[in-house]
Amino acid sequence: MENLQVDALVVGGGIAGMQAALDLADQGFKVVLVEREPSIGGKMITLSKVFPTLDCCSCITTPKMSSVAHHPNIQLLTYCELQSVTEAAEGFRVGVMQKPRYVDASKCTGCRNCEYECPITVPSPFDRGLGAYRAIRVPFSTAVPQAAVLDMENCILCGKCEKICAANAVDFTQQPETFDIHAATLIMASGFELTPLNAKKEYGGGALRNVIDPLMMERFLAPTGPYGRVLRPGDGKEPTSIAYVQCAGSRDTTLGVEYCSRVCCMYAIKQAMLISGALPLAEITIYYMDIRTFGKGYEQFYQNAQAMGVEFVRGKVASIREDAEQNPVVKVELTEESRTVERTHDLVVLSLGMLPATGSNEILGLPLGTDKFIAVPAPNASPCATAQPGVFVAGTAMGPMDIVDSIVTASAAAAAASAYIREHQKEAVYA
């Protein structure tokens, strides 16, 4: 058991958690950043390019990951689960359990020889199951920390990795490690989960092979993706007709998700533009109810997509079936024309929405909103304050939002947390 005393504990190493940690650390506060996965980076690091600037996603995310890793005021705890949170004198006591990597991260050089040697191949969640990785691997090429992790579930204990490792870092006997952290304040940046692909049965997600989720498309489009090109998963054919079904997980009372997920219009338009670049002959159709391109520069982005020939069809998709060639056939009510048609595409992307991430929110027992995201009782007075004094929230943990808004709320949460530390702690840990 290791004891740590810090000014702030940030839960979640996605873009919001990283930004909140950096803003606090830049002010001289000592921060612990706790991440559930073996690497920080969150959902953002899996994306291809980001709207509306079409900057490559790595170019924005990886330097932030690097800054977090090198910041003298930030201690990074990856592959960790929150165990308990209790109020304590001048703050909170947080129990954190670090899962065994079965690799000594302090010795591992990230050379990946273990990975090359490992005989077991498993589908990679980083690539949404479209690619594969080994049972022992560095999570992805730009992972932070650059240390291998072994998943015991798939390991056959052949020992090849242990033999090849020049640093003697592989350790099959590694045990979970626990941390007892005393923090003056907490920032929840626990992020979101994508709506499950099969949430709406009528759309055939999960059953029809050429109906995919938007993060799969991100991996097709990402230069670090599994194929380096856009192929449909059913038969590897290059699609020439691609459709997006908007609000496939949002604004839908039958799914119990009444809210708008805010990002789906923009990511669909962005992917349509990127596909137009990768497959210039492809026809792209976006079926929508309302186009919500409300952010800075977003409306112009939408207009550009229209000018590029992306087809926007106002209509509600009723169902999707498959024809004999595994082509998805979309049945759509054209709400501007009073008729229902069936249109066949090669590939359909369901524009799924955001659901709250589960796990750490429950440990804290923070009150949630009707949307199940962390409640913010006074959004127009303290936009990042939760119902629990001293606990702040950043990014999509408080509801769907895009990257820009996540980063801004993260900085705002850092400002609120730092003021709280100064006003409630007799002596801050900061220098």
Binding site: S58, P63, P223, R251, G369, S382, A410
Partner: protein
């Protein structure tokens, strides 16, 4: 006084072996899909002093940076050249990596081969590859002549200036002060609160905005670290991050508290009340609303005609006196807010048909009604009302009439959809028999709790009519004798394109947001505006609330349309940046400033004449061989590194550090050089 810590411009110590590492970044395909990076790396390897050349999918990642660090440590690389994105993105990232490896950060040269090459030559792969080679060869040529430098460290004033006393400025000021940094808040009008005070209820929780403002202002007023100056404006700015010297000019309040009430009561002169968007008139001695801050009434100097006011048998003539303050601020928050879009004459009948008003006016009109009053306009009952969305927003070039400055507002104003629907719900509750029409393109109730307001409106007998952006509704005066004074014509796509004519008693235009006119501040602080005319952030994701000019941050709707919650977040984020910047008590400026070689200077003073900055280069007296001579001396803190003095010097005695004439010459030679190997491969 700033401490001058610029070291002597050490030439590369004699005998030092130059070992250049050259790194060509794929930029995740942004560069490598156009430029043949491996080929670039191979060719650059043939240049003198180049010890290693490498490529990587992204050198800015931690793994990529580690490669460079390792080369510095293990191969003794002492000059680093990286071809990647624009230096504005990641030059600092790589300086950090180079420093971590123990090398002076200024022995690194960044070459932009994305913005300057792959992005602009995407259809000419060979040409782009050749250009990358030439640009990077120039980088190598320059790198070989780089010398170690140190940044200029200046003490920074632990004091911030916030411009704008609306909710964003208030929130920023308070959050900065809570970090132990003193704040001066400057507000142009006589009262704090800005646009928020003009609202009656804020979505999604229907709070009372003036109560929220009151709570915020009470906290701010009680904070010992905050000075508030109302009726004040910034009139001059000198200096730079850490030390902005700002002149603030303030009007007199003009009245003492003890006779303020009597004066206000006695005042008979009136003017248009901008608080009610021109719906009412107010006195020229006034308070916008009860409970405003400061509580003392203000004199509207612009409209007060100078006539005496008779109080208790006395005739009092009020006099304005301008007072100026000088203050030093380490950082500045621009929170200058927005104005509602003002439709031009005849736009949807505005200012031609008396029954056409804006949504902000409708909010004020409802506030002026008493509980239980029927809804009337110009004393006529309102039975049918239409709200039209996207007025002054989402405009299309070639479809919409440009504004006076030639602009059309392409952008979405974010708040109008929810604000209109929120209004519809309120109208339904207060006036159950009213017929309500919402004319829209797309409903954008994106925020938390906003979709619920839309549903509420849908279930409250609000009739929705959907138009296309290029077929906007038409508002015309109804012929005499019609049942209603106004007709709204719209091609409605919810009824499959039917041409509808809706007779109404009142039309409210949901006008978008426009930035306030801040030309003077833009010029004084030398900051940028975007194509939408809002103030422009340095980068939407890397530095979303900072401007490109260091030390200047943005809060709220000065940057673009936002709702209240978003403005508050942005304002707190701005405070976090200011706290980080000023917390240490010093800031560092890059050392790219002029440097005089005293052995070549003959004291002619051409540089002093050419210099555009105050006190950046001066002639000082030295003793040389027993004689007094004049020589040019640079004050680095005041120098912007523009190079005007370099061009003016007849003796080539001045250089801008890290951008010397010798380095430029080497770069030009390299760019123009024939590359036999290059020619061989590509012809």
């Amino acid at each position: 006084m700033p401490e001058n810590s610029v070291p002597e411009n050490n030439p590369a110590s004699a005998g030092e072996e130059i070992r250049v590492g050259v790194y060509t970044c794929h930029c995740g395909g942004n560069i490598s899909h156009v430029v043949q990076c491996e080929q670039v790396a191979k060719l650059l390897g043939k240049l003198p002093d180049v010890v290693v050349t490498r490529t990587d999918p992204s050198f800015c990642s931690d793994t990529g940076q580690a490669i460079i660090e390792q080369d510095i440590k293990e191969l003794g690389i002492n000059r680093v050249v990286i071809g990647a994105c624009a230096p504005s993105l990641h030059e600092q990232t790589f300086r950090g990596a180079v420093t971590r490896a123990g090398l002076n950060p200024y022995l690194y040269q960044h070459v932009g081969i994305r913005e300057q090459d792959s992005w602009v030559h995407s259809s000419d792969h060979e040409g782009a590859t050749e250009k990358a080679v030439r640009l990077m060869a120039a980088g190598v040529a320059k790198a070989r002549l780089l010398t170690p430098l140190a940044p200029i460290r200046l003490s920074a004033e632990k004091q911030a200036l916030v411009i704008g006393g609306g909710v964003a400025g208030l929130r920023s000021a308070l959050d900065i002060a809570r970090q132990g940094i003193r704040v001066t808040l400057v507000e142009k009008s006589p009262f704090l609160g800005g646009r928020m005070g003009q609202l009656e209820s804020v979505f999604p929780l229907d709070e009372d905005p003036r109560q929220l403002l009151h709570d915020l202002i009470q906290e701010l007023a009680a904070h010992p670290g905050i000075t508030v100056l109302t009726q004040a404006e910034v009139t001059a700015v000198f200096g730079y991050v850490g030390n902005f010297n700002v002149q603030v000019t303030q009007h007199a309040r003009g009245i003492n508290d003890d006779i303020a009430e009597a004066l206000m009561a006695a005042c008979t002169q009136e003017t248009t009340d901008e608080f009610n968007y021109g719906l009412t008139r107010r006195k020229v001695i006034y308070r916008p609303y009860p409970g405003c801050y400061p509580a003392t009434p203000a004199v509207d100097w612009e409209h007060y005609n100078g006539e005496p006011i008779h109080v208790n048998g006395e005739s009092i003539v009020l006099k304005d006196e301008l007072q100026t303050y000088e203050l030093t601020a380490g950082a500045v928050v621009l929170a200058t807010g927005f104005n509602p879009y003002e439709p031009h004459q005849g736009e949807y009948g505005y200012s031609e048909i008396p029954q056409v008003i804006t949504l902000p006016q409708l909010i004020r009109h409802l506030a002026l009604l008493k509980d239980g009053d029927e809804l009337t306009w110009n004393s006529s009952p309102v039975r049918d009302i239409a709200l039209i969305h996207c007025v002054g927003s989402r405009e299309l070039d070639g479809v919409h009439e440009p504004q006076a400055d030639g602009q059309v507002n392409n952008y979405c104003s974010r708040v109008c959809c929810t604000a209109s629907l929120h209004m519809a719900v309120e109208l339904r509750q207060r006036f159950p028999k009213l017929n309500l029409y919402e004319l829209y393109q797309d409903i954008r109730t994106y925020g938390r709790g906003h979709e619920e307001i839309y549903r509420h409106a849908q279930s409250s007998m609000v009739r929705f009519l959907r138009y296309h952006g290029d077929e906007r509704p038409e508002v015309i005066a109804a012929p005499d004798g019609d049942t209603h004074p106004v007709l709204v014509r719209v091609k409605d796509y919810l009824t499959y394109g039917e041409e509808m004519e809706v007779p109404v008693d009142l039309v409210a235009l949901a006008v978008g947001m426009m930035p306030r006119q801040v030309d003077d501040l833009v010029n004084m602080f030398k900051v940028a505006r975007g194509a939408d005319r809002f103030l422009l952030e340095a980068h939407p994701k890397l530095r979303p609330v900072e401007m490109a000019v260091r030390g200047i941050v943005l809060a709220g709707t000065a940057q673009g349309p936002m709702n209240l919650q978003e403005s508050l977040s942005a304002a707190s984020a701005a405070a976090a940046k200011v706290a980080a910047l000023l917390g240490q008590g010093w800031v560092e400026l890059p050392p790219f400033v002029a440097h005089v070689n005293l052995t070549k200077c003959n004291g002619a003073g051409a540089c002093v004449k050419a210099c555009r900055e105050d006190g950046a280069i001066t002639l000082q007296t030295f003793i040389e061989d027993g004689h007094e001579v004049q020589r040019a001396v640079v004050t680095p803190a005041n120098c912007t590194g523009c190079g005007a003095c370099v061009g003016a010097c007849p003796n080539r005695a001045i250089d801008v550090q890290a951008w010397t004439l010798a380095q430029y010459e080497a770069m030009v030679d390299a760019i123009a050089m024939e590359y036999p190997a290059f020619v061989e491969i590509y012809r």
